[in-house]
């Protein structure tokens, strides 16, 4: 299985993602944002970080990179596109996913482990995953998901809210919402569910001694679903 991670100026989770993908069997390639062609891939990842220093709006300038046109074409053909953190912000800025990631409600950069509830397993990302609640890491200043009422209705009607912030028991409530995100939304799909954007970082949870293993579960499951 082949994957590619796009590097933007200011990406900083690109190599963590590279390590994670390779650890679970992907043959990964790094792709520079100024390239126009994507290598043949089963999965494209837009990594976390601070592309272009978060200038203008997070992800807005990366969303106009040369490579993005190929990413949009790849996604339109059903290719899997995963955006983590800044990658999620880029996906909303390109219009591949609805809504926007605003500044955290409490105006603080949040860096901590959180629990997210997997809401929909009928897709390549979470199909057959044997857990309903994952412990993952978040590190962001703009993770406060917001969208219009029509977009929210569309997300709910089509079961596109991929993961929601919750507590250890999987209860989605205000207390478990770290950043003020609308309805505790931590990640969403596009209608076809080949594009997933989420704020939590699975690539930071792939070592039981350093962090946790729920990221390992995510990647193992993902590669099995693609095979």
């Amino acid at each position: 299985m082949k994957s590619a991670v796009i590097i933007f100026p200011g990406s900083n989770c690109d190599r963590d993602m590279d390590v994670a993908l390779k650890k679970f069997g992907f043959k990964n390639e790094m792709v520079w944002h100024d390239d126009e062609q994507l290598p043949k891939s089963d999965l494209i990842v837009l990594p976390g970080g601070f592309s272009y220093g978060d200038y203008l709006r997070c992800g807005s300038i990366a969303g106009k990179s040369k490579i993005i046109k190929s990413v949009i074409d790849f996604a339109a053909k059903g290719g899997l596109v995963l955006g983590i953190c800044n990658g999620f912000q880029i996906l909303t800025e390109t219009g591949l996913l609805p809504g926007v990631l605003q500044q955290n409600k409490n105006i603080e950069f949040i860096c901590k482990n959180v629990f997210v509830k997997v809401n929909n397993k009928n897709n390549k990302y979470f199909n057959s995953i044997d857990k309903d609640v994952l412990e993952l890491h978040i590190a962001h200043n703009e993770g406060n998901y917001f969208c219009t009422n029509d977009e929210l209705k569309m997300l709910k009607d089509n079961n596109l809210i991929a993961v929601s912030y919750c507590n250890e028991k999987g209860e989605v409530n205000e207390k478990s919402n770290p950043n003020g995100a609308l309805q505790n939304i931590a990640g969403i799909f596009n209608k076809e569910k080949n594009i997933l954007g989420m704020m939590p970082h699975p690539e930071r949870m792939i070592d039981k001694y350093l962090s946790g293993e729920d990221g390992s579960i995510f990647f193992k499951n993902l590669i099995n679903n693609i095979k």
């Binding site: 926007v100 500044q103 105006i107 917001f146």
Partner: protein, 77 residues
Amino acid sequence: MKIKVIVTLKNGVLDPQGKAIQQTLNGMGFSSVNEVRQGKFFEVDVNEKDEAKAKIKVEDMCKKLLANLVIENFEIL
């Protein structure tokens, strides 16, 4: 020709920075401040002599990059 643009958050969209500024102003003794909304100001120098044409170009820029129309409005001055 320089075209000026103001981008503001739409009504009802949470503005944590504006809120913090308002609370700071209140704390400084400006007790009459009810609300602060923070926005952005751009000055775009366009290689164009006709003002109307320049503004049409800048409007396109606003829609495609300068503003995120999900949460922001723009005004060309």
